[in-house]
Subunit: 206 residues, 2 copies
DNA sequence: TAAATTCATTGAATTATATTCATTCATGTG
DNA sequence: CACATGAATGAATATAATTCAATGAATTTA
């Protein structure tokens, strides 16, 4: 099976990229609600219909903008296997908060809006709900903690992962509500010290 | 100045109440986006135009549904003046989480969507942004803590109030994301013990 | 190579709602 | 009673999102 369909495929990918880039630019500037499909299409130099070749709904373009986010987080968890629990948590939280800053406030806002009502989506081949993915990343850090004896065997990792993630979401929402005035990746260490460690303390073995 | 305008006033109030009740019912059932003004009007037995006699925008009806929330929280803070700091915090957090459960998941979702982008609104005569209000309630609890010597004078109450509130929002958003499966007012005590107290520990005097 | 097929692209048409507004009518005022 | 006011109405308007039939370039087939 040789790769045929060369020109079409390349152009389609290019069109998609242009649409995503245009959406990112405009949404970052003006906010999701204020940007019409027509605006995105014009900015990308395509027609409105083309948008719908690549995205079912207007909101779906946000998923595209945050897919890199998810991939990054998943990757992050693997990269830090060798560090101890505390370091792994810090690293993860820092990446999470850094990503928030990276995508910017308007995209972050829309991400929350989309995710408040969880929808099924395909991540790495499996159908999961969005929050599951963050949740699973955090869960795997804690799980690893048990395997290494950093946490006791009876640590309720499901609850704790959900709980700790909730705290991260809290920072994210506070960040959006205060127009980015509060909390960023710089506060990660204090977040982990004050919020995450106390939650884990009862189960900590070191 | 006698109260004239009796019938009109009463009927107007009644119409408003019917609209709010209809909105609450339908939004709770089907979610904000799925409910059209026409649906609300029909349910309330009025015309679509009447909706706009009482609300500028569709979203404004959510404010109405949550005004009681804010008033309750403000009232709560005053009711618990005699308790110690820890009890006051627990009481406040419990009411906050209880309110989330009370209004239900769909209204809560829309409340977050509205509040992520803070808008100015009049609360008790002053223009404030929405998040300010929750924030001020929490701030006044901590402030009282300093006055009573429960917290040291140099406690950064602005930062801490914002921070602790962020954690409450985190629970709220997690609650919405997990379809109400996680976290409720029952977990308040553990929330305060694990999350709030550790944050305040460095400044605690008792 | 020519004919048939596929598929991205287009933009006008459709659809769905939110919002406005001229009109009507019941209530309040002098 | 006669005029003024404000609430209620619902058809008209406005704004976007979404659909879809037509087009033609790229690809496949014979």
């Amino acid at each position: 099976m040789e790769k045929k369909e060369k020109v079409r495929q390349v152009r389609a990918a290019e069109t998609r990229r242009k649409i995503v880039a245009a959406a990112k630019k405009l949404i970052t500037e003006k906010g999701f609600e204020s940007v019409a499909i027509e605006d995105i299409a014009r900015e990308a130099g395509v027609s409105t219909g083309s948008f719908y070749t690549y995205f079912k709904k207007k909101e779906d373009v946000i998923e595209e903008l945050n897919r890199s986010n998810f991939l990054l987080l998943a990757k992050t968890v693997n990269e830090i296997r060798d560090k101890d629990l505390n370091e792994r948590l810090k690293y993860y939280c820092r990446e999470f908060l850094a990503e928030i800053e990276r995508v910017g406030i308007e995209i972050c806002r829309q991400w929350i809006r989309n995710n408040i009502t969880p929808t099924e989506m395909e991540i790495e081949g499996k159908m999961t709900t969005k929050y599951d993915h963050d949740y699973l990343a955090m869960r795997s850090i804690l799980d690893e903690g048990i395997k290494r004896g950093e946490l006791s065997d009876d640590t309720p990792i499901d609850d704790l992962a959900l709980y700790i993630n909730a705290q991260l979401y809290g920072l994210m929402i506070a960040w959006c509500m205060t127009e980015g005035k509060m909390i960023g990746s710089k506060q990660t260490d204090s977040f982990v010290e004050k919020i995450v460690k106390p939650v884990l303390m009862p189960y900590s073995r070191r």
